[in-house]
Symmetry: C2
Subunit: 426 residues, 2 copies
C-alpha cells in the first residue's frame, strides 16, 4: 500500500524503526563506496596475461610497433574495434587509452572547425546537444567545457523518448549533437530498441547538416545474461537512410582489459574520419601501437572477446544479483523503482521525487559514498531529485552487501521523513 | 674562394661536373629518406627489455595500476620526469605517450579559458606567439589550428635572438606565448646559453600576465658528446625572478625508450598545474599507469637514464659524424653552412639564399626525401629559402652515406646553377 495513505502515527512508527536501524549502522563506522563504474581487481586479473601477449615480436604488417607513425592505428587493432562495434575495419580509427578523449576531440574539432571541416563551426552558433537523462556525467562535462547548451530528453526502456527527440530536432535549429549510450545505457541499463536505433539513424535526414550523434557504445559486449540482447547496427541503419555522416561511434576496452591502459576506437564515415584525422595529426604523431598489438594479440577476434566477457560476467552477475535481491527484498514500489540491467555497470534507482539528495546525504553520514545527487543530469540538476546511480562492480560482494543494506535503510528513512513532514524542507 | 667571383666558363665546367655526377646518381635509382627525426631500429632495441619490467607487479603506492584514476600520473613516473627535467616531482604531471598532446592541450586550455583560468582567454584577443626559427613544424601547426599568429625570431648559437624577443614583448601586447626547444634545438642543435635562459625567465616580469613560454625540452638527455653541455634550469631562474607562472616545461621518452609508446611530462607552477588538471579531467580519466610503471621500473632514476642514453649515443654518434664528414669534405663555405650539434636529432643545413627548395627538388628526383622546404618556419615559409633539416638517425649508416653523397651533389648543382643564371628563376 502507498505510504501516502498511511496515517501519521503509523508513519511515525516506521520513522522510528528506520531511525533506529540508521543509528545502529552509524555505530558500525562503515567506509564503503558505490560511486564509480570501476572494474574490480578480480576482473582486472583476467587481462594480466596480456603482458606476455607480444612475445617479443614488435613488427606487424612490416610496421615497427616501437616507432612513430600510423595515426589511424594498427590494422589488427582497428579490426578488433570493428568486430566489437559491428562495423567495417576501414571505418575505424584505433586510438589511445581513452574513448572519452576521442569524444572530446570530436567535439573540439567540430566546435573549432565544423563537423567534417564544414561551416558553420559549432562555436559560431549557440550549439546545443540533446542529452538523454539520466546519462553519463563525463559527456555533459565536455559540453560544458565548450559552452554547448544541453537539453535533457527522458530515457525510456527503449532508449531516449524519440517523439521528443524528433520534435526538438524539427523545431530547434540550434541542435548540433546528441549523446547516446545505446547498450546498457549509463545508468539506466536500457538497450536501445531496433525502432529507436532506426529513428536515430533517420535524424540525419532532417537535422542540421552539422548535426552529429555521438554513439558511445561503451558496453557493447558487456553482457551479464544469456541470451544477451542484441543492439541493432547504427552503421547499417545510417547506410539504409543515407545518413552515414550523422553518427560517430566510440568504444573502448577500459572495461574489457584494463581501465586506463586499454584501447579506444572511433568509427565514422569517410568524410568524418578524414576531417578527424586531419586535426588529430596536429594533436599527436600516433597512438601507442605496442599496446594496440598487446590487445589484438590477447583478444584475436570477437569470439575471444566474448569468451573473455563471460569471465567478467561470472564475477559481476552475483554483484548485480545482490543489489537487486536487497532492493527487491527490502523496498516496495512505495519507496521507489529501480532498473534490472542485463549488462553494463550500473543499477539506476529512482526514489520518490525530492528524496535523492537526502538519501545520498544520509548514506554519506554512514560512510557510504554514492554518486552525488544530480550527477546523471546536465548541469548536475536532477529536476525531480530522484535518481541515484548505484555502481556495484568495484566493491567486494561482502562490502556491496553492507553498502546496499545501509542504502535501503537510508531510502526508508528519507522517504518516511519526507511524508511525515511534507512541507518546510529546504 | 667565393663562387660568385668565378668567371662564367669556370662555373660552366663546375656545372657540367655536378650534372654528370647527378646523372650517375639518377641511374642508381636511390630510395632514401632523411625527413623525420625517428629513432632507428637499433635504438629501439635498447628498450625491448622494458616489456619485462613489470614482473607481474601491478600495484604501486597501494594503487592498482590496472584501474582508473590518478590524473597527475603515477608518483614514480612523475619522479622520473622531474629528474630528466631537473625539477621537483611535485611540479610534474606524467601523461600519455605524447608531449605534443600535452602542449596542444596547454594551448587549447589557455586559448579557451585563459592561462591558469584567468581572463582574457587567448581566443578573445588576437593571440600571437614568438617562434624561434628555424624551429619545429609541429609547434607551428598547433598555433595554426587555433589561429594564433606567429612571429619568427632568428635563432643564434645561444638560443633565440633575445634582443629581438625582448623588444617584441615590450612593443607588441598581443604576444601570449613563445615556443622553445632549449637543448639541441630542433633543428639547429643550439643549446640555450645561461644568459638566454635567464633572460627568458625574466620575460614574465614585463610580458602580458597571460604570456607563457612553452619549454619543449625534447632532447634534455640526448647527448652525443662528453662532457655534454649543461642547460641552465629554467625553473630555478623563474623562481629567482618570481616568474614561475610564465614557463611550462615538457619532455618525453619518445627518443629514450619507444617513439609512440613512451611517456610524456608537463612541469609547471601550482597555479598552472591546477588549471591544467581541472580541464584535463574533462579530457581523460587518467593516463596509462601500467606504461608509466614500465618506464619508471626500467629507468629507475637519472643515472639509469644517462647510462641508457650512452647506448643511444654509441649508435648515433657515427651517423652524425658521417653527415659532418661528407659536408666538411665535399662542400666549402661557398655552398652553405651547417650546424655541428653535440646532441639531439638533426643537422641544420643553410644553403646560399634562394637554393633550398631547388636542392630538395633535385634530391627528390634522385629518390632522396628531405623535409619539405620551409618546414622549419611558421606558415612553411622560409623567408630566405635556405634552411634544410637533415635527420640522420633513422637510416642505416650505409643508407645515410649514400643519401649524404647524393645531397652534396644536389647542393653543388643547385648552387652553381643559381650563379650561372642569376636571374629568371621562379
Amino acid at each position: 500500500m502507498s505510504l501516502h495513505a498511511l496515517p501519521q502515527d503509523k508513519l511515525s512508527r516506521l520513522h522510528e524503526d528506520a531511525l533506529r536501524q540508521y543509528r545502529e549502522l552509524q555505530r558500525k563506522g562503515l567506509s564503503l563506496d558505490l560511486t564509480r563504474g570501476k572494474p574490480g581487481p578480480q576482473q582486472l586479473d583476467l587481462a594480466d596475461a596480456m603482458e606476455e601477449a607480444l612475445e617479443g615480436k614488435f613488427v606487424e604488417d612490416s610496421t615497427d610497433l616501437r616507432n612513430y607513425g600510423g595515426l589511424e592505428g594498427l590494422a589488427s587493432a582497428r579490426q578488433l574495434g570493428a568486430e566489437i562495434l559491428g562495423t567495417d575495419s576501414a571505418d575505424v580509427i584505433a586510438g589511445g587509452n581513452s574513448s572519452l578523449s576521442l569524444m572530446y576531440l570530436t567535439v573540439l574539432f567540430a566546435w573549432q572547425f565544423g563537423p567534417a571541416d564544414k561551416s558553420p563551426a559549432w562555436k559560431e552558433s549557440p550549439a546545443h546537444f540533446l542529452c538523454p537523462v539520466p546519462g553519463y556525467d563525463r559527456h555533459f562535462s565536455i559540453c560544458e567545457e565548450f559552452d554547448i547548451g544541453m537539453i535533457g530528453v527522458p530515457m525510456t526502456g527503449q532508449g531516449p523518448d524519440m517523439d521528443r527527440v524528433e520534435a526538438l530536432i524539427r523545431n530547434d535549429d540550434r541542435i548540433r549533437g546528441m549523446w547516446c549510450v545505446p547498450k546498457y545505457s549509463n545508468p539506466t541499463g536500457a538497450v536501445y530498441s531496433d525502432e529507436t536505433v532506426d529513428r536515430i539513424a533517420r535524424l540525419g535526414k532532417t537535422a542540421h547538416p552539422g548535426f552529429r550523434v555521438l554513439w558511445d557504445n561503451a558496453y557493447a559486449v558487456h553482457d551479464l545474461c544469456e541470451p544477451a540482447p542484441i543492439l541493432a547496427g547504427i552503421g547499417e541503419a545510417c547506410r539504409r537512410h543515407g545518413t552515414e555522416d550523422s553518427v560517430i561511434q566510440f568504444a573502448s576496452t577500459s572495461k574489457i582489459t584494463r581501465a586506463g591502459s586499454g584501447l579506444a576506437w572511433l568509427a565514422a564515415s569517410e568524410k568524418n574520419r578524414a576531417s578527424f584525422l586531419r586535426h588529430l595529426g596536429k594533436f599527436t604523431i600516433g597512438p601507442d601501437k605496442i599496446n594496440q598489438a598487446r590487445h589484438s594479440r590477447f583478444l584475436p577476434g570477437l569470439n575471444a572477446v566474448r569468451e573473455h566477457m563471460k569471465k567478467h560476467a561470472a564475477i559481476l552477475k552475483p554483484r548485480f544479483d545482490c543489489v537487486l535481491e536487497i532492493l527487491d527484498g527490502e523496498l516496495g514500489p512505495e519507496y521507489g523503482s529501480w532498473s534490472r540491467p542485463e549488462g553494463g555497470y550500473f543499477v539506476s534507482f529512482d526514489s520518490l521525487p525530492g528524496n535523492a539528495a537526502e538519501i545520498i546525504r544520509l548514506a554519506k553520514e554512514l560512510g557510504v559514498s554514492l554518486t552525488p545527487a544530480g550527477s546523471a543530469f546536465p548541469y548536475r540538476k536532477d529536476p525531480e531529485d530522484k535518481n541515484i546511480r548505484l555502481a556495484p562492480t568495484f566493491p567486494s560482494l561482502d562490502e556491496l552487501r553492507q553498502a546496499m543494506e545501509a542504502f535501503v535503510v537510508c531510502v526508508r528513512l528519507a522517504t518516511v521523513k519526507s511524508l511525515l513532514k511534507p512541507a518546510g524542507h529546504g
